[in-house]
């Protein structure tokens, strides 16, 4: 069963690169939704079947696969101003950076003192690679909505690491964390709408009124 999980984690890693490299926001949202759906299925594969895991998987599917992408696509419809804004690193630069951090994650993992059961599993390097790729997307994108997608990718990476520890996180806390994530994205989407109304663009590099000036 774990080999199937590993194959799905490879899909997660490929989605990271796709999100980093695409110039179409709609594609990025769909890809992050697909990543969420893959993540929802993962706990059922890595652990023996338990009722609370099934509930959790459904929660994740609803939150990351349905609810959040729907919020983002809705926001995109409202703010669509057809601007193409290159990321600070460029599209190919983004892809290259994504590949580098993925390689780095795999290189680092062999030095980490992992629990014996987790050596040779893809989960830890995939988690680290997704977190770093998310961070790159978050900082290099100029459109506010793409930054939110980067943030989601980062959260997905943390979620993968959390899969190794389902015993430590009570269901209540995990569900609460997902609710907070949805609420957070909801607030961000509202702010994005306001940004586009106020600045006629969702290019955050234009927001410079509050720099320290002397």
């Amino acid at each position: 069963m774990t080999s199937l999980a590993d194959q799905m984690l490879v899909v997660v890693l490929l989605i990271n690169i796709l999100v980093l490299g695409t110039h179409r926001t709609r594609v990025a949202i769909r890809a992050i939704a697909a990543q969420g759906i893959v993540l929802a299925a993962l706990p059922l594969m890595t652990h023996q079947f338990q009722f609370h895991l099934l509930v959790m998987a459904l929660f994740v599917l609803l939150a990351k696969g349905v609810c959040i992408p729907w919020l983002l696509l809705n926001a995109l419809k409202k703010v669509e101003v057809n601007e193409t804004l290159k990321p600070f690193l460029g599209y190919s630069g983004n892809i290259l950076a994504g590949a580098v951090v993925t390689g780095l994650a795999f290189a680092v993992v062999s030095y980490l003192p992992l629990a014996p059961a987790h050596r040779g599993l893809l989960a830890v390097p995939a988690a680290l690679a997704t977190i770093m790729a998310g961070f790159i997307d978050l900082t290099s994108r100029r459109k506010a909505i793409n930054q939110v997608i980067g943030y989601l990718m980062l959260e997905n990476g943390i979620f993968i690491f959390g899969l190794l520890l389902t015993e430590a996180m009570p269901l209540m806390v995990e569900a609460g964390a997902l609710l907070d994530l949805i609420a957070g994205i909801f607030v961000m989407v509202i702010i994005i709408n306001q940004i586009s109304r106020e600045f006629s663009s969702i290019d955050t590099s234009r927001m410079t009124a509050l720099r320290e000036v002397e």
Binding site: L114, Y151, E167, A168, D180, A183, L210
Partner: protein, 479 residues
């Protein structure tokens, strides 16, 4: 247990009530009513020490009591102030603000009583979310920019903290112990945890909760959010949310202090703390906007907390005292800054000069709050800062203590450069006098807080002093 549950549910019930009240005029009245009931319950909970929940997830210990007391008092002052402030801003719908404040109070209460680090994290994340629409209360381009920065920096920070918690739990797994995020289990396992995972967890949690506190270099959202938010929201951010971040850090500190090698944590904390104070001091020297100035002052004091945690020992008593002193004094300054902002229609020291003449009560309070915050006797922060410095010299951190003292002096100078002209200057002739006048409801709450900070400095009631000793002992890793 019932008492503790009631503490968290009460503000939520208030939030529902505030949501249901249709009138913009009547709605803010819910705030002081809930605040008064909350303060009453907090005092009852402190006196009667309710037993922990059966799962031990929820327990009101001495540290939680002090945080709860500080937050509840601050919220009380803000809630009374809010009634008059929201009346003045009656053109704005205040439903979101009232509901947000109350949900935030509930989340802060939950944070104070949580002994399960996952629940604590959840509560802190919730406070971040509830405050976002409040920062954006003024609905203009500047406040949007501030809210966006606040949301992104704090969300990513809090995500890093979650990863840090996972690393903590994972370190237990590596050590062959059943992983758990319960404070007591983690403390019990602490001496056996592998240092590589523990150190990584500590760094991530410091980044995460440090972003929330506003430690440099994660402080960038702070001046923007504090500058653009209404004064009472600024007070809640500086005295409530920053304190929650500190509480998260102290819980981690409680675990780290009983591991084998604590030196590394002490060095990192004092380093980050000194850097924060230095950054704040530099920006305080050249700041002309007095609300942004208060934000840098908050960065400075969060740095001081980090330095004090790094020194440990008697400095931890200073941390607990300073938590009360700093939180309440920040409340004074932010609420009064809101008044002065309105009295002059500007928050720049060039335009807002001579508050003593235009709004004498607020002007005097601004000066008093400044003296209290920067550690002049007889105010409480004087004694807490004194404890930190004396601890630094007695525990062999003399150089850190001396550098901190020097940087605090620079920060004092920087704040004085802005506050003195605002208070004593000659009111500009070319600016129209605004309609603002000091009233009991607007100047009373900060006066109450300032008197409290002074009284606690002059005479600390013995039960409170014992509570602070107990909290300091717990923070240092005692069980």
């Amino acid at each position: 247990m019932l008492l503790v549950a009631l503490l968290a549910i009460l503000p939520l019930a208030g939030a529902v009530a505030a949501w249901l009240v249709p009138s913009n005029h009547q709605r803010p009245l819910v705030l002081p009513v809930v605040a008064l009931l909350h303060i009453g319950h907090v005092i009852a909970a402190i006196v009667f020490s309710p037993p922990p929940s059966p799962s031990e997830w929820i327990e009101l210990d001495a540290i939680g009591k002090i945080f709860l007391l500080e937050m509840s008092l601050l919220f009380g002052a803000c809630s009374v102030y809010a009634v008059s402030y929201l009346r003045y801003r009656s053109e704005r719908d205040n439903r979101v603000l009232c509901v947000g404040m109350l949900v935030c109070l509930s989340a802060m209460t939950l944070a104070s009583v949580a002994h399960h680090l996952g629940i604590l994290w959840l509560a802190i994340e919730t406070t971040t979310l509830t405050m976002a629409p409040l920062v954006y209360f003024n609905r203009n381009a500047r406040s949007i920019e501030a809210t966006w920065k606040y949301m992104m920096v704090c969300s990513v920070g809090i995500a890093m903290a979650l990863l840090g918690l996972f690393f903590l739990a994972y370190s237990m797994l590596v050590a062959g112990i059943e992983p758990s995020l319960l404070l007591e289990s983690l403390q019990g396992a602490a001496p056996k945890l592998p240092s590589a995972w523990l150190n990584a967890a500590f760094i991530l949690l410091l980044i995460g909760y440090g972003a929330k506190m506003g430690l440099a270099p994660m402080h960038t959202w702070k001046p923007d959010a504090y500058g653009e938010a209404p004064g009472l929201v600024g007070a809640m951010l500086a005295g409530g949310l920053a304190s929650c971040g500190l509480l998260g850090l102290i819980r981690v500190y409680q675990i780290c202090m009983i591991t084998g090698d604590v030196r590394v944590y002490r060095v990192i904390l004092t380093g980050v703390g000194l850097f924060s104070i230095a950054v704040a001091a530099v920006f305080l020297l050249r700041q002309t906007d007095f609300k942004r100035m208060l934000a840098y002052s908050s960065v400075e004091h969060m740095g001081l907390f980090a330095v004090a945690l790094g020194i440990g020992g008697p400095a931890l008593r200073g941390v607990m005292l300073h938590l009360i002193g700093n939180g309440l004094a920040k409340g004074v300054l932010f609420l009064v800054a809101g008044n002065i902002h309105r009295a002059f229609g500007s928050k720049n020291r060039e335009a807002a000069r001579g508050a003593l003449r235009r709004a004498p009560w607020s002007g005097a309070l601004f000066l008093g709050g400044f003296l209290a915050l920067t550690g002049s006797p007889p105010f409480l922060p004087f004694f807490s800062e004194y404890l930190v410095f004396s601890a630094s010299f007695s525990l062999g951190w003399g150089r850190v203590g001396a550098m901190t003292a020097l940087l605090l002096m620079v920060a004092f100078l920087g704040m004085a450069l802005t506050i003195l002209p605002v208070v004593f200057g000659e009111p500009p002739r070319d600016r129209q006098r605004t309609k603002y006048r000091d009233t009991l409801v607007l100047a009373g709450p900060p006066t109450f807080l300032l008197i409290l900070v002074a009284l606690l400095g002059i005479w600390l009631p013995p039960p409170l002093s014992r509570l602070i000793d107990e909290a300091a002992r717990l923070a240092g890793g005692g069980m």
